[in-house]
Amino acid sequence: MYYLYIVTAFALAFSLIADRKKTLMAIKIAVKKFVNILPAFLTMLILVSIVLFLVPDKTISNCLGNNNKFVGMIFASVFGSITLMPGFIAFPLCGILLKKGVPYMVLSAFTTTLMMVGVLTYPIEKEYFGMKVTVIRNVISFFIAIIVALVIGIFFGEVF
């Protein structure tokens, strides 16, 4: 995370030295773009706060640990799609579940959909790419996640 601040600071400093006017323009563009997309972000944050309340970590853990791995995988991919979780929460959670005996393929379905499929980021994605493309991209991503999970399952000897 810190490297983002360092890179931004350096980029800004270099830009200022090179051309004051251009830098000011860049800041203006940054503010304008940020303000334009802010309502979509607000919508997303509201949805996230409600969904995370309705689907707490505990529910996710319980459903992922379903006895049937394929049922678990489907649950995992649905939860991964509808929730939004930063990596520093999601991976430790998966680490714990792994130790509890949840199959790799179930966890893979969860993390991959978590990263690639964004039901909650829909308001933002739609602003940039339109509804149709957003839906297509998310559906494709969902299937990619399922394929990845199945391959992981095969490699870890969980499917056969």
Binding site: L4, I29, A30, F34, T43, S49, F53, G87, G95, M116
Partner: protein, 173 residues
């Protein structure tokens, strides 16, 4: 303007509900409020920097440069650059969308920006290292080796399909 009204009403209702919950000590509402704050803080740590970098990108990087490396003539290199750039992206999809949009406006090909979006979801370097430390290197390598080609192939198919239909990404954001 009707849609806008609905939006304003629901956002006000949300804020009212959270305030009410904190005053009366209604637990579910308080939890939702806390979730909101946690995630807002998380994103505010990243977004200002991301947008400043996007602004600098817009004024300094020439259209020809983007066209050359991410555009139609770039060929396979375009996808390679998209994946490398994605590897250094922070945050997640919500950062990748505005970056992809700026790239597109500077002349990047549709299939390349879809590759960038997909790749920034699955192969951000710090995240992948973190993942491997919990799930094992075998897990992370299989995941990457399977998902990345699928992302690139599906992006090419989607990009070509949309280009044939003369799809244009919305303007003004």
């Amino acid at each position: 303007m009707k849609r806008k009204d609905i939006k304003i009403v629901s956002i006000s209702a949300y804020i009212g509900f959270i305030l009410f919950s904190f005053i009366t000590g209604f637990d579910p509402g308080k939890q939702i409020g806390e979730n909101f704050v946690t995630f807002s803080v998380d994103m505010l740590k990243i977004l200002p920097c991301a947008f400043v970098l996007i602004g600098l990108f817009e004024v300094w990087v020439k259209k020809e440069t983007v066209e050359k490396h991410f555009g139609k003539e770039a060929g396979i290199r375009g996808y390679m650059w998209a994946v490398l750039l994605a590897g250094t992206t922070v945050g997640g999809l919500y950062v990748a969308f505005p970056v992809a949009y700026s790239l597109y406006n500077k002349g990047a090909k549709l299939s390349v920006i879809f590759t960038y979006i997909g790749a920034s979801a699955i192969c951000r370097v710090p995240m992948t290292i973190f993942e491997a430390s919990f799930m094992g290197i075998k897990f992370s390598s299989i995941r990457l080796l399977v998902s990345l080609p699928l992302v690139i192939i599906s992006s090419i198919l989607l990009g070509d399909y949309l280009e044939k239909r003369n799809y244009k990404i919305m303007e003004g954001k």
